[in-house]
Symmetry: C2
Subunit: 466 residues, 2 copies
């Protein structure tokens, strides 16, 4: 018997009259007075369940089929038939319904078929993939990840797995998790009484990476076009809808590229992955539009159709100062823009995504390339209507003298970055890149507002369950 | 002027007479007595460099072009010509050679164009991607990663990012790295004087994951076909050519699958990715065959052409006991097989990959499904000629009673695994999966024998540089 994937049954890959077997779980069951049970069976291959019609003649109808509840696992064999009901073209006329696994105490089953709060689902992270909501998020997340890999692969980029455990603080922000095998009850000490990290696993202090950028630059300066796609970490005590302690990031890096080149790359990438989601996950996107955000689909389509507007930070500050709107945080040249400012620019002033460029050097990282004005650096943020910043990038300082000057100004120890400086000593080239927080992208695409709901097992302050 | 990728120039994407610009680095330079310089320029897009012919007429010939050394960055503009030399069809007749970046002290440049030891290259991990060897490894690694994602995507699997930071020890082996933000110089204490992990970032003890399997099972029991592809960690003091403290792993998990199904999936996957490498990276594979292992290509081809042989552990023990060969470690039913045994089976006895199945329960993990004999579990290892074990997998114990019995026997605390047990309480299904260590795969494919050389920045005991 063919084990048929439910997506294939519903999309007409089988003929009416074909005998198939589907294997999955009961989503809902309805018994008619005429002695027929309608089983909605799903297997996760697509949003919809297939309807299996089980007649009373089946020999386990009374003692098993009628007792089925949500989440029981079943193997259904039957023939494909045109569906009389609305919404689906095909259903299965069951000739056999085998119960594989029952649900213990259905009355207390945590994922009963009703609307659960997202907070409740987080507490049941091991079961929440069984819901319509988290199933749809998971499929869209997968689609986005595949599209990102495909986008870069088709353009000749190589995927680099930069290290997770590191001795370096790429952002200099200090919000890092320590990684250690030292026995905390019996810490080794040096002669001077300090902790002897030479005895730790790696022979020194190590942490979880906050970014693969500095590492991946070494590969861009050899293979020209590279990208990372891996987990990054922030030990930041942020309890917001936009922060995770563990999140995935995509960081392309391109040799011989200037800021404008990676701005275009970012725009192309976003449009590419949005198109992929609309084409490949129409079922799940329809659900998000119905249940989460009525603009879920139109928002992506309008991003695809729009031209992203390039604007200098300095111009943006002028616009914000003169727009007549009162902001909670006042704007002056030199301040970091807040979410309220970013959203005003993208949503009200431009009405389309904005690529904001050339920020004051003092609010940006040491590795960003100094512009000729000596005051700004070649950095960019992409601001999207409805979410604010979604991508941050920059051209990197490829001139050793200027890089050293910035490191001195910011009090960084040049010896710690000797390998990074080597790239500027040996055949240096202009290069640029950006970072995209993957969970923020999934959140933006699905309309699901909290990043904790778009990663399987979210890690946040106080939460590392499962 | 078109910025041409060197791969496209060499593969004939441009016409003879077209003017192009290539941007890259000098691999080697040769000056003829006739006043012409031959520059081998590479950009990482493929194995080969393109030859650019620079005549003495160029205005910076004497003061710049003649001073070029390996690794200088250059932008070369010129016309495509048929190459007179051997090996390449096309070259560039340069009309302009712009030097972008010089090499400081060429005499001491660490990546001088000669053969370096792999050990030396590891010490220069930030520059080694510039060598033929590590460039080729990186492209093959990328090709394998893409092929793996493509393989699973085409078969309806969803990629799941299982957590990196975890409170659970999936393998029960205890060789984990601690993740913490506690101040080691000032550890918080409970009333009883023990360390108060409630005050740590996640409110409890946390570690780096050793496997995503238990987590991804929760998604297989909702979406049917899923896989992980992410970093995993072992705080094991192993200084071998096959061990890393940080490595990437692929772990598919399939609902309604038995051991034989995932054995077939693994065989199909290996053949799929080997075919992809031979088709897409013929240039790099030719280099490995020439410089690393003359069988690099034929070994993959023979894996593709062979049928993997299925064999029970019990049968394998009989073969090993009766084969007449003296092993360092004697074989008896119940022992874990050593590399010498695995390689004898695959290389001598069968002469093809072997899928060894149904191992004694006492040498396998608690989650593997008990066979009807009560002595063996539905586990498999795939043994490949030339390397030994390359994949390990199993059918999971989906019956709660049997799972609990195993956990009791092995002294595991069932409360720690309550969420894992829930999968068996609510609509349990047979399911199975396997794990593939990505660096071991790259090592096998390239013939590069040490896994430290096939990951960008290897982490091993005492080493977390860069």
């Amino acid at each position: 018997m063919t084990h048929a994937v439910i997506k294939d049954v519903l999309s007409g890959q089988y003929q009416v009259g074909d005998t198939v077997t589907v294997k999955g779980w009961i989503r809902t069951k309805r018994d008619s007075k005429a002695g027929i049970s309608f089983l909605a069976v799903h297997d996760g291959s697509c949003f919809d369940a297939v309807q299996a019609v089980a007649p009373a003649e089946l020999n386990n109808y009374e003692n098993e089929i009628k007792r089925l509840t949500t989440a029981c696992s079943v193997i259904v064999t039957g023939t494909i038939a045109k569906s009389e009901g609305q919404g689906q073209a095909f259903e299965i006329q069951a000739s056999s319904v085998e119960v594989v696994g029952w649900v213990e105490n259905p009355d207390t089953y945590p994922m009963a078929p009703k609307r659960h709060s997202m907070e409740y689902l987080r507490e049941q992270a091991h079961l929440r993939a069984r819901t319509n909501m988290v199933g749809a998020i998971t499929r869209v997340r997968h689609c986005l990840a595949q599209a990102i890999h495909r986008f870069f692969h088709e353009r000749g980029f190589y995927w680099i797995s930069t290290p997770i455990i590191t001795g370096a603080d790429a952002e200099g922000a200090g919000e890092m998790f320590r990684v250690s095998t030292l026995d905390l009850e019996n810490l080794p000490r040096t002669d001077k009484g300090t902790i002897d990290y030479k005895q730790d696993f790696f022979g020194k202090e190590t942490f979880l990476t906050v970014s693969g950028q500095l590492n991946v630059e070494t590969y861009a300066c050899a293979l020209s076009k590279v990208y990372t796609f891996g987990p990054t970490f922030r030990a930041e005590n942020s309890n917001t809808t936009r922060h995770l302690a563990e999140f995935w990031m995509i960081e392309p890096e391109v040799a011989y590229a200037e800021l404008k080149d990676v701005a275009q790359l970012a725009e192309d990438m976003l449009k590419f992955v949005f198109k992929a989601v609309l084409a490949e996950r129409a079922d799940d996107m329809a659900f998000f539009a119905e249940r989460v955000d009525e603009n879920a689909i139109s928002r992506l389509q309008s991003m695809i159709d729009s031209t992203f507007v390039r604007m200098d930070y300095t111009e943006a500050v002028e616009i914000l100062k003169n727009c007549g709107k009162k902001f909670e945080y006042p704007v002056e040249w030199g301040v970091d823009l807040q979410s309220e400012h970013e959203r005003y620019l993208a949503e009200v002033h431009v009405g389309a995504p904005v690529i904001l460029q050339n920020y004051p050097k003092d609010i940006k990282a040491f590795y960003m390339r100094m512009n000729e004005d000596g005051k700004t650096v070649a950095a960019m943020d992409i601001l999207a209507p409805g979410i604010g910043e979604i991508i941050g990038g920059s051209q990197r300082e490829e001139r050793l003298e200027q890089l050293d000057a910035r490191m001195d100004q910011m009090g960084l120890n040049k010896e710690d970055y000797s390998w990074y400086r080597d790239l500027r000593r040996y055949g240096t080239v202009p290069h640029a890149g950006f970072g995209l927080g993957f969970e923020r992208l999934v959140s933006y695409v699905t309309g699901v507002g909290n990043v904790r709901d778009v990663i399987a097992f979210p890690r946040t302050p106080g939460n590392a369950d499962f």
